[in-house]
C-alpha cells in the first residue's frame, strides 16, 4: 500500500520502470491508463453533449472494461446520461454519486466514504462547480481499478468535466441565439401584421362608412360608389391572402402540414393554379410553355398548386402591366422543373438567396403590399417534396424562379 502511494505522483513512469514482482500487473495498469490518453484529444473534438458523453463512455469502457455510469447534474438532481447495459444502478449508487458531487471527491468502494458500496463515483468538477459524476460498479470477482489508477481517472474526469461544461455553455448559447432569432422574427411578424392588417382594414372601413352614412351617400354618383365597393373588395381579398399565408407558415413551422403524394398531371396543376389566380390573370396573359408528354409526377396536388399561385402572384405584382409572365415546365434528369419568369425589375444579385427567408421583401416596400412570406412558404412546400427552389436574374431584367420535384 505504501509503495503504491509513492507511485501516485508520476504513475506512468514509475509503472513502466518498475522492476518488482508485481511488474506484470503494473504493466497491465499502464496500458489501461494509456488507452485513456486519446480521450483528451477526442474531447476537444466533441461538439455537443451527446458527443462528449459518447466519447467518455467509449474511452472509459475501453480502458477498464467495467460497467460505467455517467450522471450529469440538472439543478440539484443527477440525471443518467449513460449507463452500461450490464450495470444495475440502484438507490445506493445514486446516493454514492450525490455524495461524490457534494464532497467534490471520490466516494464509494475503496474510499473512506461509503466503503461498502459496490460502486465508486468520481465527481466532474469545474470552476463553476460540479457538473456531474462518473462511476464504476463491479462484482468482487471482477478486476477492480487499482488505487494507483484513481488519480489518473480523476485527472481525466476533470478534463471530461470541462468538456461537459463547454458543451453545456454551447447549448445555452445556441438556445439563446434561437430565442433571440425567434424573438426578432416575432417582432417582425407583429410589425408586419399590424401594418398589413390595418392598412386594408382602414380602406374597407373607410369605403363602407362612406357608403353607409346617408349624408354623404346621397351625393355619391354611381362611379364613386363602384370605386368604393371595388376598393373594399380588393382590400378584403388582400387580407384573406395574408391570413392564408400566415396559417400556411405556421402549419409548415409546426410540421403539421400533411403531404399527400399522388401521381399528378403537371398540366392540370398549372391549369388549377391559373384558375385559382382568377382575377389578376384575366387582365394579364400568362404564357404557358410545357413540353408535350410530361410524365405524371408524384406530388401533393394542392400544395404544388399553391407554390405556383404564390410564384405567379409575385411575378404579376412585381412586373409592369402587359409585360411577359411565363410558366415553363420540363423534365430534366430525374426531376420535374417548373419555372416562373417575369420581366420585372428583378432581384439584386445579393438578395437572390435571402428572398426565401421569412419577412424578407427584398428592397421592396410600399404599394404592392405583402408580408414577405410567399417565397418562404414556397420554399417550405417544395422542400416538403424533397425538391429545391432558387431564383435567378434574367437578362436584361426580370426574375426566374425555378423549383424542382423529384420524379421518384
Amino acid at each position: 500500500m505504501l509503495w503504491r502511494i509513492g507511485v501516485i505522483g508520476g504513475f506512468l513512469s514509475a509503472a513502466l520502470t518498475d522492476r518488482t514482482p508485481s511488474r506484470r500487473t503494473n504493466r497491465a495498469h499502464a496500458s489501461r491508463i494509456q488507452r485513456l490518453y486519446p480521450l483528451t484529444r477526442s474531447l476537444t473534438l466533441s461538439h455537443d453533449m451527446d458527443e462528449v458523453v459518447y466519447t467518455l463512455e467509449r474511452h472509459f469502457v475501453e480502458a477498464f472494461g467495467l460497467p460505467l455510469a455517467i450522471l450529469l447534474s440538472e439543478g440539484d438532481q443527477l440525471a443518467i446520461r449513460f449507463c452500461s447495459p450490464t450495470l444495475a444502478l440502484d438507490q445506493s449508487d445514486f446516493a454514492t454519486a450525490l455524495m461524490a458531487v457534494q464532497f467534490g471527491r471520490r466516494v464509494g468502494r475503496g474510499t473512506a466514504d461509503l466503503p461498502d458500496s459496490q460502486s465508486s463515483f468520481v465527481p466532474l468538477s469545474t470552476w463553476q462547480g460540479p457538473v456531474g459524476a462518473i462511476g464504476f460498479k463491479g462484482n468482487s470477482d471482477q478486476q477492480w481499478i487499482a488505487s494507483g489508477e484513481w488519480p489518473v481517472v480523476e485527472n481525466f474526469a476533470n478534463q471530461a468535466a470541462l468538456a461537459v461544461l463547454r458543451a453545456r455553455l454551447g447549448e445555452q448559447a445556441q438556445r439563446a441565439a434561437a430565442l433571440s432569432h425567434a424573438d426578432k422574427l416575432q417582432r417582425a411578424l407583429l410589425n408586419s401584421i399590424s401594418h398589413n392588417v390595418r392598412t386594408p382594414l382602414a380602406s374597407i372601413i373607410g369605403a363602407l362608412s362612406a357608403l353607409q352614412e346617408n349624408e354623404c351617400a346621397h351625393t355619391l354618383n354611381e362611379w364613386t360608389r363602384r370605386e368604393l365597393v371595388d376598393t373594399a373588395r380588393a382590400e378584403a381579398e388582400r387580407l384573406n391572402h395574408l391570413l392564408t399565408n400566415l396559417l400556411d407558415m405556421s402549419r409548415l413551422d409546426a410540421g403539421v402540414l400533411p403531404v399527400r403524394l399522388d401521381p399528378c398531371d403537371v398540366e392540370d396543376v398549372i391549369g388549377a393554379a391559373l384558375e385559382q389566380l382568377g382575377g389578376p390573370t384575366r387582365q394579364r396573359s400568362i404564357q404557358v410553355d410545357t413540353t408535350r408528354d410530361l410524365p405524371f409526377v408524384q406530388m401533393d396536388f394542392v400544395l404544388v398548386v399553391q407554390v405556383l399561385v404564390n410564384l405567379l402572384d409575385n411575378a404579376l405584382k412585381y412586373s409592369p402591366e402587359n409585360s411577359l409572365v411565363a410558366i415553363r415546365a420540363q423534365v430534366s434528369g430525374q426531376e420535374l422543373e417548373i419555372s416562373v419568369l417575369d420581366d420585372g425589375e428583378g432581384i439584386p444579385e445579393r438578395n437572390l438567396r435571402s428572398v426565401f427567408e421569412k419577412f424578407n421583401r427584398g428592397d421592396r416596400t410600399g404599394e404592392t403590399g405583402g408580408i414577405g412570406l410567399g417565397l418562404s412558404i414556397c420554399k417550405g412546400l417544395v422542400e416538403a417534396h424533397n425538391g429545391r427552389i432558387w431564383a435567378q436574374r434574367r437578362d436584361p431584367n426580370g426574375t426566374t424562379i425555378t423549383f424542382t420535384i423529384p420524379c421518384r
Binding site: 399522388d262 401521381p263 391549369g271 384558375e275 394542392v302
Partner: protein, 224 residues
Amino acid sequence: MLVIDDEPAIRRFLRASLGACGYELYEAATGRDGIQSVPMHHPDIVILDLGLPDMDGLDVIRSLREWTQTPILILSVREQESDKILALDAGADDYLTKPFGVGELVARIRAALRRIRTPETGAVFTAGDLEVDLARRMVLLNSRKVQLTPTEYDLLKVLIRHVDKVLTHRQLIREVWGGTCYEDEMHLLRVNVSNLRRKLEADSARPRRILTEPGVGYRLRAES
C-alpha cells in the same frame, strides 16, 4: 332555402344578399334546429356550414340523406380539405370555401336547382360546341366526331350525368371502375381526365369544360 350556420354575421349577409336575389330564406344556428327545419319548411336547397357548435356537419348530411334528396351545399374553410371530401362522399352536392362571393354562391345554387328540376339528362348533351349523343355513344366537337376509348367515354358519361356538380375522386372511381383500390385507380383517373381534356379542350392547360377542384375532384361545366 335553409341556411344552417352558427355565425350570425354570415346568416345576416346571406339573408341580405340572397333575399335581394328573390330567394326566401329560413335560418338555423345549430345542426339540430337545421335537421328539424327541413321537414317543416321543405326548402329547395340546404346551405350547411361544416363547423357547427352542437354536432358534426357530416352527421347533419347523413341524417338528412336518410330521407331526402334535397340538394345540400357545404360552406367550409380552406383548412377542412378532407372534411369537404367526406361531406361530398356522404351525399352533399357541392361546396364553397369561405370566404366566397355572392356571385359564386348564386351560381352554385342555380346549378343545384337545375339538376333537381331536370333529373334525367336527355339523350343528347350539349355544351357549346360539344355534343354527346348518349343513346348512340357518339361525341361530336364542332360537328366533328371525336374518338374516345371506352373508359374515357364512361368517365365523360358520369360527368355529364352530374353536370355542374363536383364529383370526388372516390365517386368517379367507384362509378367508372367500380373499384375501391384508391391508389392505383387514382392514377388511371388522372390519365383519363388528361386524355379527355386533350381531345375535348381547346387548351388542355386551361380547361374550360372539365374543371379540376384541387384536392377534391372534377366538375363538368354545362356552359363553356
